[in-house]
């Protein structure tokens, strides 16, 4: 990393004074959108139900069939909220720590690690079903993250760039492994192709419960790190003089990002662009304060993911489009428009 001139930034007092009203509005709107997204996720599906139907079910007046239909949408809604929080907060941490606006938890080799574990478990141990594969995907993702971290941190001073590069390498090699196994074992191929699109449907509360502890630990760690990351954003020297240890902060942040992303990926498969896009939205809303960014990401992320899932359920009824496909086709054009505003050549 070459030295760069510190950009002039608004002083803390100014930023907070300007932002307070805006933050409150953003918070209220964010919560409202999230509530609507949850409601929509319960309401829409291959069999359409009205808002009145949903209210009937909640008050216990509905017939058993309707109750079953609506209740069948609870697990995917819960998973959508959980995965949305995990991906968005994980992405915020990654972008904050690497100072790379394109950083995304997938960079740490997590998707490839989870895929490799799912495929190997199916091919060699005959594991099948979403609830069972989650217990393979989770350690697979964590081990890949750890491996990336060990390779990336080896050497004299471990820069973040090196870490990202290690992620690319581990991903490439693991992807080759995944493809090799998937193409020589038909069962593994099946579980791979269902897993890799990234979907909220077809999973039950067991999946949710399996990943919840990891998500909670990661999220708590992220909240604790907020003030430290603010110090880190001023540069390593300034952070040290404020009493923060940059190395420890970065490591803890990456651990939290890894836990969160691994939980999400294990539960619902790889989902593109939520971890990439939400931090940008959140920064535009609340500015550079990491405590705020993390809190808002935990609202915007699930709202976005649930809305994408609802869109996927509605556009090709009675089939449905998996949420991973929807986020790619919504996120990529956004990225393409953002490209035009890029300056410089790196």
């Amino acid at each position: 990393m070459t030295t760069t001139l510190a950009k002039p930034r608004p002083s803390g007092a100014d930023a907070s004074r300007v932002g307070t009203a805006r933050r409150v509005y953003a918070l209220l709107i964010g919560i409202a959108v999230l509530a609507l997204a949850v409601l929509a996720s319960v309401m829409f599906g291959s069999r359409s139900t009205s808002f009145g139907d949903v209210l009937d079910v909640w008050s216990g007046d509905a017939d058993p069939y309707l109750t079953t239909v609506v209740e069948s949408r609870y697990p995917r809604t819960a998973l959508g909220v959980l995965a949305g929080v995990c991906l968005a907060v994980g992405g915020t941490l990654m972008q904050g720590i690497t100072r790379n606006p394109l950083a995304d938890p997938g960079l740490l080799g997590i998707n490839a690690g989870a895929a490799a574990a799912v495929v190997s478990a199916t091919a060699f141990l005959g594991v099948s079903g979403q609830a069972a594969t989650v217990w393979w995907a989770l350690p697979g993702a964590l081990i890949a993250g750890l491996l990336v971290y060990v390779i990336g941190a080896a050497g004299a001073d471990s820069g973040v760039v090196r870490l990202v590069l290690a992620g690319a390498v581990v991903s490439a090699v693991l992807t080759a492994l995944v493809q090799a196994i998937a193409l020589s074992h038909p069962d593994a191929f099946d579980s791979y192709r269902y897993w890799v699109v990234g979907a909220l449907g077809g999973r039950d509360f067991d999946v949710f419960r399996s990943v919840l502890p990891f998500a909670l630990i990661g999220f708590t760690l992220a909240l604790l790190l907020g003030p430290g990351l603010n110090a880190l954003a001023l540069g390593d020297e300034s952070a040290s003089s404020l009493g923060a240890n940059p190395m420890v902060l970065r490591s803890a942040g990456l651990v939290a990002a890894t836990l969160l992303s691994a939980a999400a990926t294990a539960a619902v498969g790889p989902i593109a662009f939520v971890g990439l896009a939400v931090p940008h939205v959140v920064r535009a809303l609340v500015g550079v304060d990491f405590r705020m960014q993390i809190a808002y990401a935990a609202i915007v992320g699930p709202a976005l993911l649930l809305l994408a899932d609802v869109v996927g359920r509605v556009v090709v009824r009675p089939q449905e489009l998996m949420v991973g496909v929807v986020t790619a086709f919504v996120g990529a054009p956004v990225l393409l428009f953002a490209v035009r505003r890029m300056r410089g050549s790196a």
Partner: protein, 350 residues
């Protein structure tokens, strides 16, 4: 680039008045070594394994005396496959060399900016969704062209800004991958699995038509690339200097990227999107010659060598039963990419 003045003056290979290639002795030695290795790998491809032609009978068989099973192996099974592998590898190596010269980005290659992903999506459409309307390779070609077109227009500056090129490529590739994954998801397993093999890039069951296609592409593009060589070297020194030397940098760039994309597209149409050869071959070529210079020809040779070796592994590896060659290039290329990136980082260029 600072060392060029100290280096011994190269001899110059002239063809008429338009082509004048500087030739270093080190360069010739490197090229010769790669050719020898390529020949060795080719002989191994033809002779190893259960169906291999015994080494003693190979010269006779090549001259025209192949009989029985040897003739079948040489003319149907491994002969065309080897010729396709050499041609495709050369096309990919040259494609990457042109692309990296123009973008001045050692990590650039048409497959990084979405060409391979687009080809996979195109193949998915015409193999699975609309079977029979177009041959799969033509669908792949169309997908690749569409992806390149999207990247070109999304950047707003064409192929000029490497940073934008890569980010736009990321976006286009993400959409193409999501689409392919979706199609693979909704198809029944057997058909989907055939597509997956194609999407990884495969050289199995190639015939002489494939060989003719890729060599025709090479026959058209290589002379043009040779004509472009000096201008490219000039443009690597920077736009102002290139313009001062009389090489219009913008036209050179657009022309070179076009050639690069045509080569990659040709490779895609015969072998599917094969990962990492276009990326690594020019890098190895540069290491062999120790710097700048007309390394395009060497990159093509190295590309051919890499692909023939990977295909040899794909055919003969004891643990695999005909895995597509693209998986081997991905694994090898991934490791090499890591090495390369870490090196760059150490030099402080990232």
């Amino acid at each position: 680039m600072t060392a060029t003045a100290e280096r011994a003056r190269p001899g110059v290979l002239r063809i008429g008045r338009v082509v004048a290639l500087p030739v270093h002795r080190g360069y010739l030695l490197a090229a010769l070594a790669v050719v020898v290795l390529l020949l060795g790998a080719s002989v191994a491809t033809l002779t190893l394994g259960r169906l291999g032609i015994p080494l003693g009978e190979l010269p006779g068989a090549l001259v025209g005396g192949a009989e029985g099973s040897d003739a079948f192996v040489l003319e149907r099974l491994r002969g065309p496959r080897l010729v396709v592998a050499i041609g495709t590898g050369a096309a990919l190596g040259l494609s990457g060399a042109l692309f990296q010269s123009v973008t001045r980005n050692p990590l650039g290659s048409p497959d990084v900016i979405g060409l391979g992903a687009g080809a996979g999506a195109g193949a998915a459409v015409f193999a699975l969704l609309l079977p029979g309307t177009l041959p799969v390779w033509l669908g792949a070609l169309a997908g690749a062209a569409l992806a390149m077109g999207l990247v070109y227009f999304a950047t707003g500056t064409g192929f000029r800004n490497p940073g934008r090129l890569i980010v736009a490529g990321l976006g286009v590739a993400a959409m193409a991958f999501a689409f392919t994954e979706y199609v693979v998801y909704v198809m029944e397993r057997d058909r989907a699995s055939v597509l997956m093999a194609y999407v990884n890039g495969s050289l199995s069951a190639r015939d002489w038509d494939h060989a003719a296609t890729i060599w025709l592409v090479l026959a058209v593009v290589v002379p043009l690339a040779a004509l472009l060589g000096r201008r490219l070297d000039a443009s690597e020194m920077g736009d102002e200097l290139a313009a001062g030397l009389g090489a219009d940098p913008t036209r050179t760039r657009v022309f070179a990227v076009t050639l690069s994309v045509v080569l990659s597209a040709g490779a895609v149409s015969v072998a599917g999107p094969i990962a990492f050869v276009a990326l690594t071959a020019p890098q190895i070529a540069r290491r062999l010659t120790g710097g700048t210079g007309a390394h395009q020809a060497l990159a093509a040779l190295v590309g051919a060598l890499l692909l023939v070796l990977a295909d040899l592994a794909a055919q003969q590896a004891p643990w695999s039963d005909g895995l597509p060659v693209g998986i081997y290039t991905m694994a090898i290329g991934g490791v090499y990419l890591g090495y390369l990136l870490v090196r760059e980082w150490r030099r402080g260029r990232l």
